[in-house]
């Protein structure tokens, strides 16, 4: 792994890539750290008459700072789509977004004075925590998964993988059509049953309905049964365990077909090759889908919760001043 890291960091340097977390020598980490330290220091030194709460001068200050931070953090969603007009590099924005987002959790907690109850204000706080925690998940996966995606793709982007899968399907079907209706039926069922991608849950769990290799197994089973009968040896030429190990099946089936049906051996062998290539490609593509799903799923929490949070904070401010 160390070698991997070394080589990948060299690759990073070559590509000019550096993590947003270390952007400018952790500049925004220092800014956020200073903000947190200052807030903590004042919070500990200031001893208000009735204890800390949102309605002391410190509470109001921290509340205003937190609200401003929240709005600016949410604005990142706008900035990252401003390709022409945006000011400041997006990398800087991301770095600042991450660190100041973490600082927001501290300032908002100190603003509350640790007063929590079953009310609208605590709902806003819980939404904030959910936003920050989902963001932390995002940081985590962004530091792990992109590399795995790149390694999995091996320079073949998903659309190209899909096109190749479809091409293999078409070719296998055409060939199967020429061999026999039975082979064609099996191959077309295999094509129909392949599961590429799926629902959100399937994408995240990585469990797709795995019927795309069944056609291959059925094919091998049929042929081995047929040949067993014809050979009359009464001994199973392929054990159940071997059948499960598809690579063996491919080799064995290949041998069997050659011995029995030489005139169709080439087509069948090509069909088998295509099906196994397709199977591998489908697995790679599905793995890519899974990794990308896990890379992005947190955004489906982070963004809606942020919108909800902004509204909740607005309601919080209105409610607080309504019953001032």
């Amino acid at each position: 792994m160390a070698t991997d890291n070394a080589s990948s960091s060299t690759a990073d340097e070559v590509a000019g890539h550096s993590s947003h977390l270390i952007y400018r020598n952790y500049f925004y980490a220092k800014v956020a750290g200073a903000l947190v330290a200052l807030a903590l220091l004042i919070y500990l030194l200031y001893d208000p008459l009735h204890g800390h709460s949102g309605s002391t001068w410190l509470g109001y200050t921290l509340g205003t700072i937190s609200f401003g931070l929240m709005v600016w953090l949410a604005w990142f969603g706008v900035r990252k789509r401003q390709f022409q007009t945006g000011r400041g590099s997006v990398r800087a924005w991301v770095s600042a977004h991450v660190y100041l987002g973490m600082a927001l959790l501290v300032t908002a907690t100190l603003h509350s004075g640790f007063h929590f109850s079953f009310n609208l204000h605590t709902v806003a706080y819980v939404l904030l925590c959910a936003v920050v925690v989902s963001g932390l998940y995002g940081i985590l996966v962004y530091s792990i998964l992109p590399r795995r995606i790149t390694e999995n793709r091996r320079d073949l982007p998903p659309r190209a993988m899909l096109a190749e899968i479809y091409r293999l399907d078409d070719t296998a079907l055409r060939l199967a059509d020429k061999v026999s209706p039975e082979i064609h039926a099996i191959v077309s069922r295999s094509v129909a049953n392949v599961r590429i991608g799926g629902s959100a849950w399937q994408q995240i769990t990585g469990r797709y309905e795995g019927r795309n290799d069944r056609g291959l197994r059925v094919l091998a089973e049929k042929r081995s049964d047929q040949l067993r009968r014809e050979a009359g040896k009464g001994k199973a030429l392929l054990s159940t365990q071997a059948l499960d190990r598809l690579e063996t099946v491919v080799v064995m089936a290949d041998q069997l077909f050659e011995s029995k049906q030489r005139n169709q051996a080439d087509e069948i062998k090509r069909i088998l090759d295509m099906l196994s290539q397709r199977k591998a490609l489908v697995e790679r593509l599905n793995h890519d889908v899974t990794l990308r799903a896990r890379l992005n799923v947190w955004l489906y929490l982070h963004v809606p919760l942020t919108v909800g949070l902004l509204v909740a904070v607005l309601a919080h401010v209105i409610a607080v001043f309504y019953y001032f």
Binding site: L49, H50, S117
Partner: protein, 574 residues
């Protein structure tokens, strides 16, 4: 059956084909009655047969079957008019056959371009069914409606009970529960938050707490920073527990009282920071005799150098003899008196019931005047009645005795042989002494009041026409600016704080000084004693000041000097 097939061609035109047979065969092979293109269609893919009025049996020989009612790989199904199925990517719909036909099939071919038609692959979470906008919108609507709109509407319609129990109310805006003393109206936020977007005004509090008093009626107090433009809610905060509503925090007090030199008009006050570390010695409100000796006046004094305080209460009661260890002579012999023999706790055990002469003293101190004719018992506490009795019965008796004694003395030869006759005054013939009739009534009454009876225990006012007992001032408290209850001290022996055994004079006020209290009571945040803050003993809103709901009475200013400590020995104000 007669079968009509309608098929839409690539250019959009409809083509109709009529055929007959016991079944409709579908597939890619040319001999199929309904030929469908595409490699996902098997040569002989499926068949449709009559299965009753409007129903047909669909059976598929192909392993891929058809897609019917959301399921793929269907090999057998009963389809009826109006239903649809997908075969090899092509859409087939069974419709009501036109007259003369038994089956009408409408075919929409899949768009070509590929040998295989496929549903678009779902390769990302958006196509997988997740969305950011819908949940965001739902959350926004939920928060606005449940968090703001419904509570506002309920406020506007007066929070009907039924709706308030199932819908979110403005209680969702409460930052914390109200204290239990306010809980009976705690659900009605407007009870205190009378005006939206306006802080709670004092009228909300004084509508119930109408009799709350000022801290001080001094007119200068309103200009001090701690009091200027202050509302009740500045010091009394709800929704944060009992401790915030009635704060024990000494900072509320020491903010001014720690540095009185900075407060204009109050610079004579002693500084106070903490009960243990910096608190002035107690100043006792006691009585002193007026200059003319006729009444008692009130003053405040500190303890003297010997730690003692004198209170001229008008009652001359020596504790040392009464509670002597050896006992005291009572009507039935020697008696041992204890504190509770006279000092009986009141119902709340905070203080003591009034001392009562009949109950506590008369058993031994009978106020009797004995004459040969009778024994007079003077009524306690009634100057005029007592004087009357003395004048009526005692004075004549004494004078009579005196006259009798004088007469017998006259009859008895004295040193120089002179004889006296009854009624004659003593003396020789040359200078006869006047006959003594005894002391006069006034003198006798004075003697009774000042020496014989009343004056043994009381101060007598001689300035008027007749001698009178000065009504004693027996206080319930000598520290009226403090709140002290004996109830939490009931486990402590009386003598721990009240050194009556060492009380040698009748005007000793046997109250403890601050050092006695400090034996147990510590300051704020101290762990080695009873933690005592300012409000442990002092009230912020003082009962003797004016109502907070009224402005201070500036027509009768209280001078600052009245608040200053009096001189310790004379008790006179400086």
């Amino acid at each position: 059956m007669r079968i009509l097939i309608r098929q839409q061609a690539a250019d959009g035109t409809w083509k109709e084909t009529i055929c007959e047979g016991s079944r409709l065969t579908l597939g890619r092979a040319t001999q199929q009655m309904l030929q469908l293109p595409g490699l996902m269609v098997a040569l002989e893919h499926a068949e449709l047969q009559m299965a009753g009025a409007g129903h047909y049996r669909l059976s598929s020989k192909a392993l891929t079957g058809v897609e019917f009612e959301g399921r793929t790989g269907v090999r057998e199904a009963i389809v009826s008019t109006g239903s649809e199925f997908v075969l090899g990517g092509h859409q087939l719909r069974i419709e009501t056959p036109t007259p003369g036909f038994d089956l009408l099939v409408v075919v929409t071919l899949a768009s070509t371009g590929q040998a295989v038609s496929r549903a678009p692959a779902r390769l990302d979470l958006d196509s997988g069914g997740l969305s950011k906008r819908r949940p965001a919108l739902a959350l926004v609507v939920a928060l606005l409606v449940l968090g703001l709109l419904i509570p506002l509407v309920l406020i506007a319609v007066g929070r009907p009970a039924m709706l308030s129990s199932i819908l979110p109310t403005d209680m969702a805006w409460s930052s914390g529960p109200v204290t239990s003393s306010h809980a009976h109206f705690g659900g009605d936020c407007q009870a205190c938050h009378a005006t939206p977007f306006r802080s709670i005004q004092d009228t909300s509090c004084t509508s119930c707490h109408a009799d709350i008093k000022h801290h001080s009626d001094h007119p200068g107090i309103g200009d001090l920073p701690g009091f200027k433009d202050r509302r009740c809610a500045d010091c009394h905060q709800e929704h944060r527990g009992e401790a915030a509503l009635i704060s024990q925090n000494p900072a509320l007090c020491t903010g001014c009282h720690a540095r009185p030199e900075t407060l204009a008009g109050f610079d004579g006050m002693p500084p106070v920071k903490d009960f243990r570390r910096e608190h002035p010695a107690f100043r006792y409100t006691v009585s002193i005799l007026s200059a003319d000796g006729s009444t008692l006046k009130e003053t405040r004094v500190k303890a003297g150098a010997d730690g003692k305080v004198q209170d001229v209460s008008g009652s001359l009661f020596p504790h040392d003899s009464h509670v002597a260890a050896a006992g005291i002579k009572g009507p039935n012999g020697n008696e041992k008196l204890v504190c509770s023999s006279c000092h009986v706790a009141d119902t709340a055990k905070a203080g003591f019931r009034d001392l009562d002469f009949q109950k506590h003293c008369q058993r031994c101190h009978e106020l009797k005047l004995v004459t040969p004719e009778r024994t007079l018992e003077l009524p306690h506490g009634q100057n005029d009645a007592s004087r009357f009795l003395v004048e009526m019965f005692y004075v004549p008796s004494v004078r009579q005795q005196a006259a009798t004694a004088a007469a017998s003395e006259a009859a008895t030869p004295d040193g120089d042989g002179n004889r006296r006759r009854i009624g004659d005054a003593g003396g020789n013939a040359a200078s006869p002494e006047p006959v003594s009739t005894g002391p006069d009534s006034r003198t006798l009454v004075s003697e009774v009041f000042e020496y014989q009876v009343c004056g043994k225990c009381h101060l007598i006012d001689n300035t008027g026409e007749h001698p009178k007992v000065i009504p004693p001032k027996l206080r319930h408290t000598w520290l009226p600016a403090a709140r002290f209850s004996h109830a939490p001290h009931n486990a402590v022996p009386c003598s721990d704080c009240h050194q009556v055994g060492k009380s040698l004079t009748e005007t000793d006020l046997n109250l403890p000084g601050i050092e006695t209290c400090r034996q147990c009571h510590a300051g704020t945040h101290d762990q080695d004693g009873v933690e005592s803050t300012c409000v442990s003993c002092h009230a912020m809103h003082r009962a003797d000041q004016q109502l907070m709901s009224k402005a201070p009475d500036t027509a009768a200013p209280v001078s600052a000097s009245a608040l200053l400590p009096a001189s310790p020995t004379t008790g006179a104000a400086p």
